[in-house]
């Protein structure tokens, strides 16, 4: 029944581990395996170290569930997820996360939010401050250190959330439709900045989105997921030259890749809209 293709192993360095997802299934609701919804059905996927990997699929395909499993926020029911530290059993600062709705602590200022993880690392006070200010500067929020999240626009809140997550220097950065709540212009700016931050930090990024353009613009590889039950249908190497920076969207390869992926996603998207009825 499954049409998932075997996933090619092409890691240049076989000892380097990004994230290994082995035979992971997940069910919501129901009892003793009966009833309920199968959100993920035997997912196998290798996320390479330092790659920018997009999980692309229609809403309800389980891509966020997969991300939360990698984050350790919900327990793995069957299968194994492994990182360089070993199997994932719970949240860990090795894996930072950025949510769609920012999830900044609203009672803390931008600086206090950014300091929170650094305090947990037990760094000396002076070093914490310097680091926090460095990352606030990196996301262009200097001057807003003492603002509360309620005083900031959505785009600025998401910048602050990214600073908070990057400050603890996670090896893996999980992003759950981080720009989904932003207006189109802000989203575009944030995408460009995220790409440039990634080029400087080279984290392993897993980026959940339902936006084909966004996935093609940001990711080195894209996993296309099917609608319920969630499966990996295709893994696409985007692999075109990005030396041209932001102009990449005007290149014919970019447009072609977008069309190609849209073609693969379209059937799933149609199925998802029909299954909702």
């Amino acid at each position: 029944m499954s049409t998932a293709r075997p996933i090619p192993h092409e890691n240049a360095d076989p000892s380097a581990v990004g994230i290994e997802i082995r035979d992971v299934s997940h069910h919501y609701g129901g009892r003793n395996g009966q009833g309920g919804v199968t959100a993920l059905d035997h997912i196998n996927l290798d996320i390479r170290p330092n790659e920018f990997h997009a999980l692309l699929g229609p809403s309800g395909c389980g891509k966020s569930t997969l991300l939360y499993l990698i984050g350790g926020f919900i327990p793995v029911q069957s299968g194994v997820i492994e990182t360089a530290r070993g199997p994932v059993t719970g949240p860990h600062p090795e894996r930072g996360i950025v949510f769609q709705n920012f999830a900044l602590f609203p009672w803390k200022t931008v600086l206090q939010n950014t300091l929170y993880g650094l305090e947990k690392l037990g760094l000396p006070k002076k070093e914490r401050e310097e680091k926090a200010r460095h990352f606030i500067d990196l996301v262009h929020l200097s001057g807003f250190e003492n603002a509360f999240p309620s005083q900031l626009s959505g785009g600025m809140q998401q910048r602050a959330a990214i600073a908070r997550t990057l400050a603890v220097d996670p090896e893996i950065l999980l992003m759950d439709e981080p720009f989904g709540a932003l207006d189109a212009q802000t989203r575009r700016v944030m995408q460009e900045e995220l790409r440039s931050i990634w080029q400087r930090t080279r984290k392993t990024v897993v980026f959940v989105t339902h936006d084909v353009q966004e996935a093609v613009f940001l990711a080195d590889r894209i996993s296309i997921m099917s609608a319920r039950p969630g499966r990996i249908q295709h893994v696409i190497d985007v692999g075109f030259n990005r030396e041209h920076g932001d102009d990449v969207v005007k290149k014919p390869e970019f447009v072609e890749m977008g069309e190609h992926i849209w073609g693969l996603v379209r059937d799933q998207a149609v199925a998802a809209t029909r299954s909702a009825h």
């Binding site: 939360y68 984050g71 350790g72 926020f73 719970g90 949240p91 860990h92 600062p93 894996r95 930072g96 996360i97 949510f99 709705n101 999830a103 602590f105 609203p106 009672w107 803390k108 929170y116 993880g117 947990k120 690392l121 509360f148 999240p149 309620s150 005083q151 908070r164 997550t165 603890v168 996670p170």
Partner: protein, 251 residues
């Protein structure tokens, strides 16, 4: 901002009440029988202050209220957080809270007298129980409503479960918790006075009932006014404390 003129306008209705009081007290067939006039109440108040009576009784009352209320805030906040976080605690405590919440705590006054006698303990325990329930309920509801993404963020930033409870769940529950504590504050004053009516050798409530029994109505009303003023001031102070604590909510 709260300029003097603004404050004067806001409390102008109180002046009307005062004038109405004076008219009812002095004019008409029931003059000075139901209600002593304003001036005699004020001079009775002055006498009570001069001979130290009201201060002595007041300190007794307020210290009982403060201890009972303070303990209720500490225990109730912790209990609500634990109920929201741990299922066994919730299963154990929730039915007890639900049964006792709507019960009028003044019904416990005789029981308190039997168990703890006429001293401070009976009043403190009563105030504690009365204040405890709104604090538990608000702490529990606030903690249960915490955005799970806050908890996940904290955990992935390296916070332990205990740190997450204190540093994320508690502040997230704060708006709801602080409004529950405001209810508890009002209960503390109510239970303070009503328990002292029944079982006490001193305190505001004792003083009011003694003066009433002795026919010293002007003095009795003076004490009632003082209790009302304390309740009002406590609520105002608490209100500004809450505004400061929750200033992060203002856009």
């Amino acid at each position: 901002m709260g300029s003097l003129a603004n404050i004067a306008v806001r409390y102008a209705p109180l002046l009307i009440v005062l004038v109405g009081w004076e008219i009812i007290a002095t004019a008409g067939p029931l003059s000075n029988q139901l209600l002593p006039d304003v001036m005699s109440v004020l001079s009775a108040l002055w006498d009570l202050i001069l001979d130290g009576e009201i201060i002595r009784h007041g300190l007794r009352s307020l210290s009982r209220a403060a201890i009972g209320f303070g303990l209720a805030v500490l225990v109730g906040s912790a209990a609500g957080l634990l109920m929201a976080s741990f299922r066994p605690v919730r299963l154990l405590v929730n039915p007890v809270v639900q049964i006792f919440y709507p019960m009028p705590k003044s019904a416990l006054i005789p029981v308190m007298m039997i168990w703890f006698g006429l001293g401070d303990m009976s009043k403190i325990v009563l105030i504690f129980i009365g204040c405890l329930l709104p604090v538990i309920v608000s702490s529990y509801n606030g903690a249960r409503g915490v955005n799970p993404f806050f908890l996940w963020s904290a955990r992935s930033l390296g916070a332990s479960p205990a740190a997450t409870l204190l540093q994320v769940t508690l502040p997230a529950a704060m708006p709801e918790l602080l409004s529950g504590i405001r209810t508890a504050l009002a209960f503390a004053f109510i239970l303070m006075v009503s328990s002292e009516f029944v079982i006490a050798k001193d305190g505001f409530g004792y003083l009011i009932s003694q003066l009433g029994d002795g026919g010293a109505y002007a003095s009795m009303f003076a004490v009632i006014l003082v209790v009302a003023a304390f309740g009002f001031i406590a609520d105002r102070l608490y209100g500004s404390f809450v505004r400061h604590q929750l200033r992060w909510r203002e856009p």
